[in-house]
């Protein structure tokens, strides 16, 4: 058994608006002197610490948790899962 850090990034699917990202872009960033930024998207991340026999199991386990427990709402969001050795 080994310990893994698994990062789950939850973000809006393409096509679903992200008012928070837009607000940060328009009201904060572009108001200032930082004109080279063209887009901001927000996401939420959950960092799991998990003990499994290998990286692959860790990943599939977390995938299962995300789907079963509705860690993300499939109607509007998607997840990306990245596994790292702890």
């Amino acid at each position: 058994m080994a310990t893994y850090n698994v990062h789950v990034t939850i973000e809006n699917k393409p096509g679903i608006s992200d008012p928070e990202g837009e607000t940060i872009l328009n009201d904060l960033v572009l108001k200032g002197t930082h004109k080279t930024v063209s887009k901001i998207k927000t996401a939420k991340m959950l960092k799991f610490t998990i003990k499994e026999k290998d990286k692959k199991t860790a990943e599939s386990k977390i995938k299962e948790i995300c789907d079963d427990l509705r860690i993300y709402n499939p109607m509007v969001s998607k997840v990306t899962i990245d596994v790292f050795d702890a």
């Binding site: 008012p19 509705r70 709402n73």
Partner: protein, 226 residues
């Protein structure tokens, strides 16, 4: 008739709802803690507002996994009236009892204000005393109240008459100004605004009669006269 008020850790409109059911409409209401089960002989179930589990991860998602939700699902299937208000609506959506999802308000802020609803479906157990298109002055209080469905689902909702309430004006950016929906059978209703805050004239600065019809609809559905 017996009405169950389901209480989750972090519910905070449970006592308000209970007061309205018992003191205003003389119903036999009872609290049910989320780990308990619902009795078989219950006549209606209400999921009140609040911040179950502190709205963590997403409003309603953790409570949707509570043991009592299985019972609510069974009751819903049997056709028993179920109402979710605010966080209760979010929980119904997250537990798959109602379609759609509730996102952060477009303003990105919590919004507490009075608004007007339009009744779009007067066939549900909570709207049968309304005329179609009747207006209801009512307060909202939520941070994640923007109802969202994709275009395809929206068409379905319209076709199956599942849109129950719409806002009279744009309030939070919700799809089609939707404020409340029901399941296909019409017995499970979810709404973001708070009827329990609007049925008493003392605290309703506009008109408490329209909101009262939500509860009177339930009474009439059950054949009880108030």
């Amino acid at each position: 008739m017996k009405v169950g008020v389901v209480v989750f850790p972090g519910s905070n409109c449970d006592r308000d709802m209970y007061h309205v059911l018992t003191d205003v409409f003389n119903l036999d209401a009872q609290y049910y803690w989320h780990e308990k089960s619902l009795p078989k002989n219950i006549d209606a179930v209400i999921l009140p507002g609040g911040f179950s589990y502190g709205d963590r991860l997403r409003a309603g998602v953790i409570a949707a996994h509570s043991p009592i939700i299985k019972d609510v699902q069974k009751m819903a299937k049997k056709g028993i009236p179920v109402l979710g208000v605010c966080n209760g609506f979010q929980i119904l959506v997250e537990s798959g009892l109602l379609p759609g999802v509730l996102l952060k308000n477009e303003s990105l802020n919590f919004m507490c204000e009075w608004t007007n609803l339009i009744v779009e479906n007067n066939k549900t157990p909570f709207t049968n005393q309304f005329k179609l298109n009747q207006k209801i002055p009512i307060p909202i209080a939520n941070g994640e109240g923007r109802y969202y469905v994709d275009d395809k689902t929206l068409k379905e909702l319209k076709k199956k008459n599942q849109i129950v309430f719409r806002y009279d004006e744009v309030v939070n950016g919700s799809s089609n100004r939707i404020a409340g929906v029901c399941n296909e059978d019409g017995n499970v209703v979810g709404m973001m605004p708070h009827p329990e805050r609007a049925v008493e004239s003392e605290i309703n600065p506009i008109d408490n009669k329209p909101s009262s019809l939500i509860f009177e609809s339930l009474l009439s559905k059950m054949g009880v006269s108030n």
